[in-house]
C-alpha cells in the first residue's frame, strides 16, 4: 500500500537505539555500568591508602618537605586509563566534526581494542623473548617491567593489522593517527614508571605524632592495605571505637570510618569494592571481546566456506558446547597462573561457541542471498565480500548477545574468585563474598551483602541492556509483537 501508514525511515542502529532508550530498565542498567566504569577508572584516585600530599614537618611545625605519594604510586595502566577516559568521554559527548557520535564511539572502541591487542601481543612477545616460566608471565602483566621496543613493535604490528581489516573505510584512513596514538600511549605508559610504596603504618603513626601532615583521598584505604588489628569491623564503625584500635583515639586515623566494614584479614571492604570494579568491567569486556572475535571469525569461516571446513570446525564447536563450560573453566583457572590476563583469555576461549554458531547461521543464510551472490559475481575479492558485505549483516545477533556474554563473564569471574581461583593480589567481589562464610562457621553479613549486591547489579544491568537490545533488534520477536 503506497503511502498508507508509512513512517519516516531511520537507520537500523539509530532505530534500535531509540527502542533501547525507551526502556527504563535498560537506561538504569547503563547508568549503573557508567558508575562502575567511573570507579573502575578512577578507583586509584578515590580509594587509596597513599596520601595525595604528604608534608613532613620539622620539630617546630615547619614544613620541611612535600611529597606526592599518590602520583608516584599510580601505575602506567592507571595513567593510560584515566587520560583516555578524561579526554575520550567528553569527546564522545561534546565533540563535533565529520564523525557522528556513533563514529566517535566506534573510533574509541577501535582504539581500545587496539590497545588491548597490543598489550596481549606485547605480553606474548615478552614471554617468548624471556623464556617461559611463571615468573616472567607474572611480570609481563605489569607492562612497566617489559622492554619498551617490544611494546612499541607490537603496537605498530597491531595497528597495521587493524588497518588491513576493511570493516569501515574510515578506520583505514586513520591508520597514521592510530599508529601515532598507540605509540605515544605506550611510550608514555612506559615512562610513567613504577609504584613507589609508602609505609602506611609509619605515616599513620607519624601523623598521630604530628610529624607529618597528610591529605588523604576520599576513601583512605587501598585494596591491598590490611591491618591485623582491624579484622572484621562492622560497617560504619569509627576506627577509634574499635576495641583493638582504640589507642588511635584523637588522631586523624582514629576519626576515620570503615563505611562498609572490613574483611577477614583487616582490609577495607569499600576500598576493595571500588577497585574490584576494574577487574569486573575489564574481564567482562575483554573476555567477551576475545570470544566475539574468535567466534565471529570461526563462524564466518564455517558459514562462508561450508563443506569440510564447516564439518571440521563444527565438531570443535560441538566439543565446546557439550562440555560443562564452568567445569572446564574451573580446571583451567585452577592449573594456570592466577592472573587477570590469563583469566580473560580462558573465559574468552571457552565461550566463543555462541558467537560462532550465530555467525555461522547468519552467514549460511547470507551466502545464498542475492546481494552477496551479486558481489561475488561482480568479481569482488573474498575479503571484500566477507568483510564489507557479509560481516555487517551477520554480526548483528552476535552484538546483541554480547551484553549477555559480558554478564556471564562477570558471573564467571565472581564464581572463580569465590572458589579461590581468581587473579592473585587483586580485589574482587567474588573473593570478598567467599570470606563471608569463614571457616570458623560465623557468617559476616556485610561481606555477603555489599559485594553480592555489586555483582548482582552489574550482572542485572548487562542483562537488562541485552534484553532491551534483543527486543529492539531481533526481527523475529519484533514480528511476533505485531
Amino acid at each position: 500500500m503506497r503511502g498508507i501508514g508509512a513512517q519516516e525511515a531511520k537507520g537500523f542502529w539509530a532505530d534500535a537505539w531509540d527502542r533501547v532508550r525507551r526502556r527504563p530498565g535498560a537506561m538504569l542498567g547503563m547508568a549503573w555500568i557508567a558508575v562502575m566504569g567511573f570507579f573502575a577508572v578512577f578507583a586509584p584516585l578515590i580509594a587509596n591508602a597513599h596520601p595525595i600530599r604528604l608534608e613532613r614537618l620539622g620539630a617546630d611545625g615547619q614544613v620541611v618537605s612535600v611529597e606526592w605519594p599518590l602520583l608516584a604510586y599510580l601505575s602506567p595502566t592507571d595513567w593510560l586509563l584515566m587520560i583516555a577516559t578524561a579526554f575520550g568521554v567528553p569527546w564522545i559527548f561534546l565533540g563535533s566534526g565529520r564523525l557522528g557520535r556513533a563514529g566517535r564511539i566506534g573510533v574509541l572502541i577501535g582504539l581500545s581494542m587496539q590497545a588491548g591487542a597490543t598489550i596481549v601481543l606485547a605480553a606474548l612477545l615478552i614471554w617468548a623473548a624471556e623464556g617461559s616460566g611463571i615468573e616472567s608471565l607474572e611480570r609481563l602483566t605489569r607492562l612497566d617491567a617489559g622492554p619498551w621496543p617490544l611494546i612499541l613493535c607490537s603496537a605498530v604490528v597491531v595497528a597495521a593489522l587493524a588497518s588491513a581489516v576493511p570493516v569501515a573505510t574510515s578506520l583505514s584512513r586513520r591508520i597514521v593517527p592510530i599508529v601515532g596514538a598507540a605509540t605515544l600511549g605506550f611510550v608514555l605508559s612506559w615512562l610513567a614508571g613504577g609504584q613507589t610504596l609508602v609505609n602506611h603504618e609509619q605515616v599513620i603513626l607519624d601523623e598521630a605524632a604530628g610529624k607529618v601532615r597528610a591529605t588523604w583521598t576520599l576513601i583512605p584505604w587501598s585494596s591491598q592495605y590490611t591491618r591485623s588489628d582491624m579484622v572484621g569491623i562492622p560497617p560504619g564503625t569509627r576506627v577509634a571505637d574499635w576495641e583493638k584500635t582504640a589507642s588511635f583515639k584523637g588522631t586523624p586515623f582514629g576519626e576515620r570510618r570503615v563505611l562498609l566494614g572490613t574483611d577477614a584479614i583487616g582490609g577495607d571492604v569499600l576500598g576493595q569494592m571500588l577497585w574490584a570494579c576494574r577487574l569486573s568491567i575489564s574481564i567482562g569486556l575483554v573476555s567477551t571481546g576475545i570470544s566475539v572475535v574468535l567466534g565471529v571469525t570461526i563462524g564466518a569461516l564455517m558459514g562462508f566456506f561450508g563443506g569440510w571446513v564447516d564439518l571440521l570446525l563444527y565438531r570443535v564447536v560441538e566439543i565446546f558446547m557439550s562440555v560443562p563450560t564452568l567445569f572446564v573453566l574451573i580446571v583451567a583457572a585452577g592449573v594456570l597462573p592466577r592472573n587477570t590476563y590469563v583469566m580473560m583469555a580462558i573465559i574468552g576461549f571457552f565461550s566463543w561457541t555462541g558467537a560462532a554458531r550465530f555467525t555461522r547461521a547468519e552467514f549460511l543464510k547470507l551466502r545464498k542471498m542475492d546481494f552477496v551472490q551479486a558481489a561475488q559475481a561482480a568479481g569482488l575479492p573474498v575479503r571484500a565480500v566477507l568483510f564489507r558485505h557479509m560481516l555487517p549483516n551477520g554480526i548483528t545477533p552476535v552484538l546483541v548477545d554480547a551484553s549477555f556474554a559480558i554478564a556471564a563473564a562477570i558471573t564467571i569471574e565472581a564464581t572463580l574468585s569465590f572458589l579461590g581461583l581468581g587473579p592473585d593480589g587483586q580485589a574482587s567481589w567474588g573473593k570478598l563474598l567467599s570470606s563471608a562464610t569463614a571457616a570458623t562457621g560465623t557468617f559476616v553479613w556485610w561481606l555477603a551483602v555489599f559485594p553480592g549486591l555489586a555483582i548482582f547489579l552489574s550482572v542485572l544491568s548487562y542483562n537488562m541492556l541485552g534484553e532491551a537490545m534483543r527486543d529492539a533488534i531481533d526481527p523475529k520477536l519484533r514480528k511476533a509483537a505485531h
Partner: protein, 358 residues
C-alpha cells in the same frame, strides 16, 4: 441490456454479503492502518466470487473478517457488517462463531506447506474438524475423513490417514487442506490464494477439483487471487479491489470484455497476449496516470468519475463530503465501479453489489 436493468431484486438471497466493511489495524506509534475502507460484495450458492487485487489491498482481511480471524487488537472492525444466514458475523459471540468456522464457512489458505500442523497425522487433523462440528463417533469421523480424502483425489486414503504432513508434496497437502475444509460440508468456502504457492500443473488440478466439488455440493466460494488467468477460468463474478476499496465489481465475461475502471483496464493491458504485437507492455501506472482514461462513465446519477487515490487534486471532481470521497456506483446493470462521491452520486445511492447466478 436495458431489460436487465429492471430486474432490480435478485431472485434469491445471497449466501453471504459484505456491506461497507471497514477494518483497521493498530500501528504502534504511527496512525492506524486502514486495511479495508468500506467494502461491499456478495456470494450466492453455487457461485464463485473472485476477489482480485495486488497484495495488501484488503482481500484477505475481508475474508478473515468474516471468520473473525482478525486478531483484535491490533485489528478493529470500524464499520459495516457481514451477513450470513441472517446474522451479522462480525457480532457473533465466540461460541457461536466456533460453529460457523469450519462448520458452515470453511477456509483454505495460500501456504499448504505450513498450514498443516507438522506434529499431527493428516487423519488426526481432518478428524479434528469433523468431530468438532458433527455429532459422530471417532470411528464414524474416521470414515468421513477417509471419504473426504478420497473425494479430493488422494490415493490410498486409509493408509495416508496415518501419514504426517511432511510426507506429502505441496499439491497433496493442499488437497488435504481442501478435504479438511470440505469434510463438514460447509455452505461457503473461502479460498485465500489456494494455488499461488503451487506450480502451474498442480494449480490447474486443484482448481478443477474445487470447481467439481462446488458443483457436487452446491456451496458458494470466495476465491481470492491475483492471477487473472485463474479468474477467467473459474470465477462467475469478479470483485477488483485496490487500497481497501472495491474499484470494480462485475460478471466475469463482461469485465474481461470491457473493463470500466482505469485500474482494471491497466491490469488487463499489462498482460502480454500472443496475438498482439506490441513493442512494450503498458504498465498499470501509465494507464491510471492518463486523465483520458477517467472519461465517459455515466450512471443514473449522471456522469461519474472513477475513484483513484493518487489522482491529482486538480483533476478530482468536487466531493459531497471530503471525509467520504468514495462510493460504489452501479454504472450499468450488474456493473459497479468505484467512483468519486460527488453530490450527485450521494443523492442517488446505488444498490449494493449483488449479481445472482443466472
Amino acid at each position: 441490456m436495458a431489460s436487465h436493468h429492471t430486474t432490480a431484486a435478485p431472485p434469491i438471497d445471497p449466501l453471504m454479503s459484505v456491506e461497507d466493511l471497514a477494518v483497521s489495524f493498530d500501528n504502534g506509534s504511527g496512525p492506524r492502518i486502514q486495511a479495508v475502507a468500506g467494502v461491499s460484495m456478495s456470494v450466492y450458492p453455487r457461485q464463485t466470487l473472485a476477489v482480485v487485487g495486488e497484495s495488501g489491498c484488503g482481500k484477505s482481511v475481508t475474508a478473515m473478517s468474516s471468520m473473525q480471524l482478525i486478531p483484535r487488537p491490533p485489528g478493529r472492525f470500524d464499520a459495516g457488517r457481514i451477513m450470513f444466514e441472517g446474522r451479522n458475523l462480525l457480532e457473533l459471540p465466540e461460541h457461536e462463531m466456533l460453529k460457523v468456522r469450519g462448520g458452515k464457512i470453511a477456509m483454505i489458505f495460500q501456504e499448504p506447506m505450513t498450514s498443516l500442523n507438522p506434529v499431527y497425522t493428516i487423519g488426526d487433523q481432518i478428524m479434528e474438524a469433523v468431530l468438532l462440528h458433527q455429532a459422530v463417533s471417532p470411528d464414524e469421523a474416521a470414515r468421513i475423513a477417509i471419504k473426504a480424502m478420497a473425494d479430493v483425489g488422494i490415493r490410498d486414503p486409509e493408509g495416508r490417514m496415518r501419514a504426517y504432513p511432511h510426507q506429502f508434496s505441496g499439491g497433496m497437502r493442499q488437497r488435504v487442506m481442501i478435504a479438511m475444509a470440505l469434510a463438514c460440508r460447509p455452505s461457503l468456502l473461502l479460498a485465500d490464494e489456494p494455488t499461488t504457492a503451487l506450480d502451474v500443473t498442480i494449480q490447474k488440478q486443484i482448481l478443477e477439483l474445487l470447481r467439481g466439488l462446488q458443483h457436487s455440493t452446491g456451496m458458494g466460494m470466495m476465491l481470492i487471487t491475483h492471477n487473472l488467468g485463474v479468474v477467467a477460468e473459474n470465477a462467475d463474478v469478479v470483485c477488483c479491489m485496490y487500497a481497501g476499496r472495491v474499484v470494480e465489481y462485475a460478471p466475469v465475461t463482461e469485465l474481461f470484455d470491457r473493463p470500466l475502471h482505469p485500474y482494471t483496464r491497466g491490469l488487463f493491458r499489462c498482460i502480454p497476449g500472443l496475438s498482439e504485437l506490441r513493442n512494450r507492455l503498458v504498465t498499470v501506472e501509465e494507464v491510471v496516470a492518463d486523465p483520458r482514461e477517467y472519461e465517459g462513465l455515466r450512471s443514473d446519477a449522471g456522469p461519474v468519475m472513477p475513484w483513484w487515490p493518487f489522482m491529482d487534486q486538480s483533476q478530482r471532481p468536487a466531493l459531497d463530503d471530503p471525509s467520504r470521497p468514495y462510493a460504489l456506483v452501479e454504472v450499468s446493470p450488474n456493473r459497479w465501479v468505484g467512483c468519486w462521491r460527488t453530490p450527485e452520486v450521494a443523492r442517488t445511492p446505488s444498490r449494493p453489489p449483488r449479481i445472482a447466478p443466472a
